[in-house]
């Protein structure tokens, strides 16, 4: 549907949404959100086969599950701009009586969200269940999921990773956001995880690496590659190397902006680095 320029324009607008959302309520998680802006834009606008509108069961369409729910700002922005709800609703992020809770939930009925996430490590199991439901329904569409790299420290992931290969759940593409950062520091400082690629391969997954995870064309190419590997008896993992805080220079390459909002001055700098493209909400 889109050419690269359109997608890149959307990325810049999504960055502005993220910054403005977290700034307004002085809370939320801009770092990981910015790092995944290109991925979300590519996924929802180019990669996934989506139906118009939203229903929970999502029959005959690709589905997405966000496991690291704290990057809700990028999720909400991309959902709104993909037409799931009015972009003005981004104004309500984290406010009382909002459907845009701090972490995504089905509880308030926000279109586009199929599971609550926030408590880490649960999303892959849910995605696998949805993938198996698709198989039972003879629905050939795919399940996509996104997980943080630090999140892999949660043990439930490894139950799910083991299960997926054992049960040949080959209609899932689970992407790991390899930004190398978590709340307390770099993943290497907090709890080094060794070779994530080696671990997934040892568990029986096909692994695709996207070295430039903030480059739209690299994402499109890598995800097309991943898609071509589905249906072959093995689950597919994409290792997406991203830069936390991407697109806002002072937020990049650090864990400092994991869960911290910019002040007025910082917001102005961030927005100046990302001039309005499609229109602010």
């Amino acid at each position: 549907m889109s050419n690269t320029q359109q997608l890149e324009d959307l990325v810049i607008q999504v960055r502005r949404d993220i910054l403005r959302m977290v700034h307004k309520v002085n809370s939320g998680h801009p770092g990981g959100s910015l790092g995944c802006a290109e991925f979300f834009v590519a996924l929802f606008n180019e990669i996934m086969d989506r139906k118009e509108g939203f229903d929970m069961d999502g029959i005959e369409e690709d589905l997405f599950f966000l496991s690291n729910g704290h990057i809700s700002p990028v999720y909400y922005s991309v959902l709104a701009r993909a037409g799931y709800f009015e972009i003005e609703e981004l104004n309500t992020f984290r406010l009382i009586n909002s459907r845009l809770q701090g972490h995504p939930t089905t509880h308030e009925g926000l279109p586009g969200v199929r599971i609550a996430s926030g408590s880490l490590g649960q999303g892959m199991s849910v995605a696998l269940g949805a993938a198996q439901a698709k198989k039972l329904n003879n629905d050939n569409h795919l399940i996509y999921s996104l997980h943080g790299d630090g999140e892999l420290q949660e043990g439930q992931n490894w139950e799910a990773i083991m299960y997926a290969a054992a049960k040949k759940v080959d209609n899932i593409i689970s992407t790991i956001d390899l930004n190398g950062q978590q709340i307390d520091g770099s993943t290497d400082d907090v709890l080094p995880m060794g070779s994530i690629k080696g671990k997934f391969e040892a568990f029986g997954w096909t692994v695709i690496e996207i070295e430039e995870g903030n480059n739209i064309n690299a994402i499109l190419k890598g995800m097309a590659d991943a898609k071509s590997k589905t249906g072959k008896g093995k689950p597919v993992c994409v290792l997406l190397k991203t830069v936390m805080g991407n697109g806002v220079d002072f937020m990049m390459h650090t864990h400092a902006w994991h869960g911290k909002a910019p002040n007025d001055e910082q917001l102005a700098i961030g927005l100046a680095q990302n001039a309005e493209t499609l229109g602010d909400y």
Partner: protein
């Protein structure tokens, strides 16, 4: 006084298995998951008859709950099976976020609840599960009394949209409810009419309550016995109507008195009709190894304990 006949001891987990077998035939959306306890949960038939709808997840309960939540997306009705301990405490956060908060139509089916799984001891004897589950917003909590009722409850919960915790057990216990009696979630069953005391019981303690009523009748005490198979939502009206008549109540359950049926009943009474109440339940303790009968005796969970509690509560009227 109305009396009930035990048609032969049977384990409630087999009632679950039979109900699941029935659902396999009647509802194609029902799927089942098990964490390496197919035999213990009596899920063999369902697995054999519907291998494509059965998911062996291995010893990975957290993953099982998540997969179950995911299977609902696409219209499936997942029944998860493992021991009560591993169905609740071990996976509380998974149930809380991926099932309850996400409003997923998952049926968490838990065997070997309470002390009476016996010799395995306290690591496996959860006495806190009703409390854990009833505290979750939107969760329905059901603890049927015998084989027939467990089978009926298993079938009934497939028709109810929303998360359910279904609790049953390992030992063979009296089977006395009518075969094929319709199971209505949240509707208490009046078993014996009485005027002096109300006994509300859940699980296999219902049979003990019936036995206690017989003993009490011989002593000239008229006990009303109510089977509370659904702890949440609780049938407040049935309890209040009964205590209006009897003016005292004993609750009986195989669970800690903190967080169980008794506490739910106390809440209803405190809000609407303060009434003397005694608790037949475990007293904030872990269990231990032993036979079911020995454990019920030692921890005060049998008809004798109920009779004693009735005598105590009647003096407080």
């Amino acid at each position: 006084m109305k009396t009930y006949t035990n048609t032969g001891n049977k384990d409630t987990r087999s009632g679950f298995g039979a109900g699941l077998t029935e659902l396999g035939k009647t509802n194609e959306n029902v799927v089942a998951l098990c964490a390496d306890l197919i035999g213990s949960l009596k899920m063999d038939d369902f697995k054999k008859n519907h291998p494509e709808r059965f998911f062996q997840v291995g010893i990975a309960e957290a993953n099982m709950i998540g997969i179950a939540a995911g299977l609902t997306i696409g219209g499936k009705i997942p029944f998860t099976g493992t021991f009560a301990n591993f169905s609740t405490g071990r996976v509380y956060d998974q149930i809380r976020q991926s099932v309850a908060y996400s409003d997923k139509n998952v049926k968490i089916c838990a065997s070997h609840a309470g002390l009476t799984l016996g010799e395995d001891g306290a690591t496996h004897q959860i006495l806190e599960d009703i409390g854990l589950m009833k505290m979750l917003p939107g969760m329905t909590v059901i603890n049927p009394c015998d084989y027939n009722q467990t089978k009926a409850a298993t079938i009934a919960i497939a028709e109810h949209h929303g998360p359910v915790y279904l609790r049953f057990g390992r030992p063979s216990v009296a089977n006395f409810t009518p075969e094929n009696q319709k199971f209505e979630i949240g509707k208490a069953l009046h078993l014996i009419d009485g005027t002096d005391v109300t006994i509300v019981a859940t699980g296999h303690l219902v049979w003990e309550a019936l036995e206690a009523a017989k003993t009490l009748n011989e002593k000239g005490v008229s006990a009303e016995v109510i089977n509370i198979h659904t702890i949440k939502p609780l049938d407040d009206k049935a309890i209040l109507d009964s205590v209006t008549k009897t003016r005292c109540i004993v609750t009986a359950e195989e669970h800690n008195y903190l967080g169980g049926l008794g506490e739910s009943v106390a809440r209803v009474l405190a809000q609407h009709k303060p009434t003397p109440q005694e608790f037949v339940a475990t007293n904030d303790t872990f269990g231990e190894s032993g036979t079911p009968a020995q454990l019920m005796d030692k921890y005060g969970l049998n008809s004798a304990a109920i009779v004693k509690a009735v005598e105590k509560v009647m003096k407080r009227k």
